[in-house]
Symmetry: C2
């Protein structure tokens, strides 16, 4: 009765990273190492985490009873642990999902654009031309992923991996925007005069 250690199951409120890990684990059980890999794509296009952040967070989730783990004697000096979401974890995730997000996006490329006129226009134009090229490569990559997903039926909201497709679609759209915007900006900086937005530059 005297609950010294047992009464935090309802009170515990997780961090965003915690919910991100729970989301990944809804795809199936995984080790910390696997989560570190899985957070790279497609989630990694909009959310990243290092292993040094993931392992402690998994321990916290475990302490909160939101994940279970089984140990399996791994290769290194420590046991390998495979984690799975618990019913409590899934409930917590569901509750968090429907809260309207407030966090502002943060973009370093846009920050640099804010001060673009303080630097050498030629160097800055080159920077944004490179960025446009990179976005072209990424776009091709993402679109290939997308058609593979469609072939696998992951564009169906009934598919448990539909979220991967939804994130990827945001990635595709974002890269298109970056491409257009970077070319426009480079064009402005190179010509030194106003360029209407959205025109394909010659």
């Amino acid at each position: 009765m005297a609950g010294i250690e047992g009464d935090d199951s309802a009170t515990t409120s997780g961090s965003t990273l915690g919910y991100a890990l729970l989301s990944l684990l809804t795809r199936g059980p995984a080790t910390g190492y696997q989560l570190t890999q899985q957070v790279k794509a497609p989630l990694g296009h909009f959310w990243t985490a290092r292993h040094s952040q993931i392992y402690p967070e998994l321990a916290r989730l475990s302490a909160a009873g939101w994940v279970d783990s089984v140990e399996q004697a791994g290769p290194g000096p420590r046991a390998k642990k495979t984690y799975a979401v618990t019913a409590a974890g899934l409930t917590a995730l569901r509750a968090w999902l429907v809260i309207p997000p407030t966090a502002q996006p943060r973009s370093e490329i846009t920050l640099k654009a804010y001060a673009a006129t303080s630097a050498d226009p030629v160097a800055m134009a080159a920077l944004y031309t490179d960025l446009a090229e990179r976005s072209t490569r990424l776009l091709a990559e993402y679109e290939q992923d997308a058609s593979r997903m469609r072939a696998a039926g992951q564009d169906d909201p009934g598919n448990p991996r539909f979220g991967n497709y939804a994130v990827l679609m945001m990635g595709v759209e974002s890269q298109r925007v970056v491409h257009r915007w970077a070319l426009w900006l480079a064009s402005c900086l190179r010509t030194g005069r106003p360029v209407p937005y959205g025109e394909p530059p010659g």
Copy 2:
């Protein structure tokens, strides 16, 4: 000769926030309070900072010799300080600007989409419908700002405030993307079946 305190002007490397503040100060001298206001728009659409972060950072920039300050006896118990970029600060900013940025963007709305199928489809669809509505409002607001800026000649790369316009254009494009994507996602979740991306939903 024995430089105990004078040899850090070239070595000092700033934080991203420091460069953001230098960028703001290229528009003209400002107090920490004014910088806190100015970081809200349009830079704030892609980069935010609270005053509790700005004041200590200004002290660091001042210590590095990247900004100067003059005191003016302010309203509160402390003197009001107006900061201005120094030549060293401008040099540092220029050097930082041409380094290709690596930081990945971070988006909570996209993270939630990754786990969309774990929550109640109706509630999630409502979330993204609300998001689409918000982006409509923001888009209208940003476009109004943009046409005001064009009227003021800020779409000219020769204008020192051109960076404001460049950031705003990214804001406009981003909100358009969020709008389309959120409506698509809501449509997927409501109908429960694949919806081709980019179709205006009925």
